[in-house]
């Protein structure tokens, strides 16, 4: 992990409120699920860095895929080619590879696509489900189609693309067609992760979830980002963001 200067090479809208940014930045090799803490300006405003998963990293070019939510991501969307950011990373613990005998299932919702897509691209086999409210929320559809060996299913709540319904419904359908052993990689809203974890348990599948929590440091020193696990609080930024779903205490 280092603090690198990162030059914006490209920053373009790829879906509703969603941007793909390419940075020129020398990172150490990463595992999907790992993330960067991006510092957006040289001044102290905004003060905290923003966590974003690494979508890809090749030959000094790092791709990030992000949704504009609040102030930080709006600022990011306004960055133009040649502007400079600072990127701390790769941070955290990424997904583990599937065992050779395991069928791999990837499921993403909300801002959870980048680490899942990164994992699907890395492993190159299995089934991927992407959930969204509507068609316009789904970025990089062609790119996902192009991953050889991975079958892509979209689930949209308004039925505008793929099946009508939520991603975990699609997961349920898919699991009914698969044979164990199976590993599920999930990233997205807490509700989705919880549902995926429960489906995985029912199916007897291993399930790894990448969890989002508010962070201050991103490298383990402030204890902001804890999640309850069966062995007590764990820091999402350094002991995660990827956890075995069976270790998480899901709550309500």
């Amino acid at each position: 992990m280092e603090d690198c200067n990162a030059l914006v090479k490209d920053n373009r809208q790829v879906a509703r409120d969603t941007y793909l940014m390419t940075l020129a930045c020398e990172l150490s090799p990463f595992t999907p699920g790992q993330f960067l803490m991006l510092r957006l300006t040289g001044s102290c405003e905004p003060f905290l860095r923003r966590p974003l998963a690494i979508l890809s990293c090749r030959e000094g070019a790092v791709e990030l895929l992000y949704k504009v939510k609040g102030r930080g991501t709006s600022l990011l969307a306004g960055k133009q080619k040649g502007e400079e950011l600072s990127a701390l990373g790769p941070l955290g613990k990424g997904f583990s590879d599937p065992r050779p005998d395991e069928e791999a299932v990837y499921i993403a919702g909300g801002t959870g696509l980048p680490p899942i897509l990164a994992m699907a691209e890395r492993i190159g086999r299995g089934h991927m489900i992407i959930g969204a409210y509507t068609k316009d929320d789904i970025p990089l559809w062609q790119r996902m189609q192009d991953i050889r060996g991975v079958e892509i299913t979209a689930a949209t709540e308004d039925g505008s693309m793929g099946m009508r319904g939520v991603a975990t419904q699609a997961l349920d359908d898919l699991l009914k067609k698969l044979q164990p052993p199976c590993v599920i990689y999930a990233c997205g809203p807490a509700g989705m992760l919880k549902a995926a974890a429960s489906l995985a348990k029912g199916f007897g599948a291993r399930c790894e979830v990448s969890i989002e929590e508010r962070m201050a440091c991103g490298f383990g020193v402030c204890s902001a980002c804890v999640v309850r696990t069966t062995t007590g609080n764990q820091r999402v930024c350094i002991q995660g963001p990827v956890f075995d779903a069976a270790d998480i205490e899901w709550g309500q």
Binding site: M1, F219, G220, C222, S223
Partner: protein, 303 residues
């Protein structure tokens, strides 16, 4: 050039730059980024007698030029600290200052006794924890109670004793003198400011704990005033804490009367800032022909 600074009999830092409690954990993560030996000292996360789970999330929140935290003093407890963390910290050529707190006088005293061991360079007593049960919060708010508590802790340890004051009091000078008379060797000025953030969409507080402590550059002007006020009243050294981000801020705190400066929230944002700050300070002294930081400390020109 001499940038060492003296905080107590037997506690001399090789330079005035310290980490701050709660933004450096127990040093391990930072040690993977730079050699901790470059620091004047390391201040650990606040430790208690028993491990503590802390508050519900969200525990942090961004504010204009600052942040709120309501970690709730999550820590691994004194036993695990001594067994697992202290030996590692002792491998570095830097002072180890252990921040601690208790829920009552007895716990403070027990903590001081337990920390009276090799490897601990000094102890920093946090008397401004908003999250501990009855009695706790009053330690840092009432000079009589503070004085008594400090005196009890003083009797329980031979280590240099630093008392970390709460900024949100009517008369901080009075609190400083109460701690000094209780036997404190130095004062840290100061902890975070009770504050809050609200989400106007959900109508809920942003922090799980409702309120939290404000830190970062936003509060630096207040911290500077507090350091100036306390250092003119107290006879013991003052350690500045509050919003420092650069060697410029460090020089300002020294001029106001601080003998050392803790870098807290800013190191969450820029973990490699410590080296740059120390280098900047050295360059500043070179450029201004200063031989020793004692030529800066408290030398604000007000006339």
């Amino acid at each position: 050039m001499d940038i060492s600074t003296r905080l107590a009999p037997g506690l001399c830092l090789k330079n005035p730059i310290l980490s701050a409690s709660g933004t450096f954990a127990y040093g391990e993560e930072f040690s993977r980024m730079f050699d901790l030996s470059l620091l004047g000292g390391v201040v650990t996360k606040g430790i208690s007698l028993l491990p503590k789970e802390g508050n519900p999330t969200p525990r942090v929140c961004e504010t204009p030029c600052g942040m709120l935290n309501a970690i709730g003093l999550e820590n691994i407890g004194i036993d695990a600290f001594i067994a697992e963390k202290l030996p590692f910290l002792c491998t570095f050529d830097t002072e180890v200052i252990v921040n601690f707190f208790g829920t009552d006088e007895d716990e403070y005293v027990q903590m001081a006794q337990r920390l009276n061991i090799d490897g601990v360079s000094a102890i920093e007593m946090n008397v401004s924890c908003p999250n501990i049960k009855k009695g706790g919060i009053e330690f840092g708010k009432d000079p009589k109670i503070l004085n008594r508590l400090v005196a009890q802790v003083r009797k329980s340890t031979t280590k240099p004793l630093i008392v970390k004051l709460s900024p949100m009091v009517t008369n901080i000078g009075e609190m400083a003198l109460a701690a000094q008379e209780g036997g404190a060797d130095a004062l840290t000025c100061s902890n975070t400011y009770p504050a809050m953030a609200i989400d106007e969409n959900t109508w809920k507080p942003i922090l799980g704990n409702i309120t939290g402590g404000l830190s970062g550059p936003a509060i630096k002007p207040i911290a500077l005033r507090i350091v100036w006020e306390v250092s003119r009243q107290a006879a013991i050294p003052v350690i500045a804490s509050g919003g420092a981000t650069s060697w410029r801020d460090v020089v300002q705190f020294l001029l106001a009367g601080a003998s050392a400066v803790e870098i807290g929230s800013f190191s969450l944002r820029d973990p490699l800032c410590f080296g740059a700050i120390i280098q900047g300070l050295i360059r500043y002294m070179q450029n201004n022909g200063l031989e020793s930081i004692t030529e800066i400390i408290g030398r604000l020109k007000t006339a």
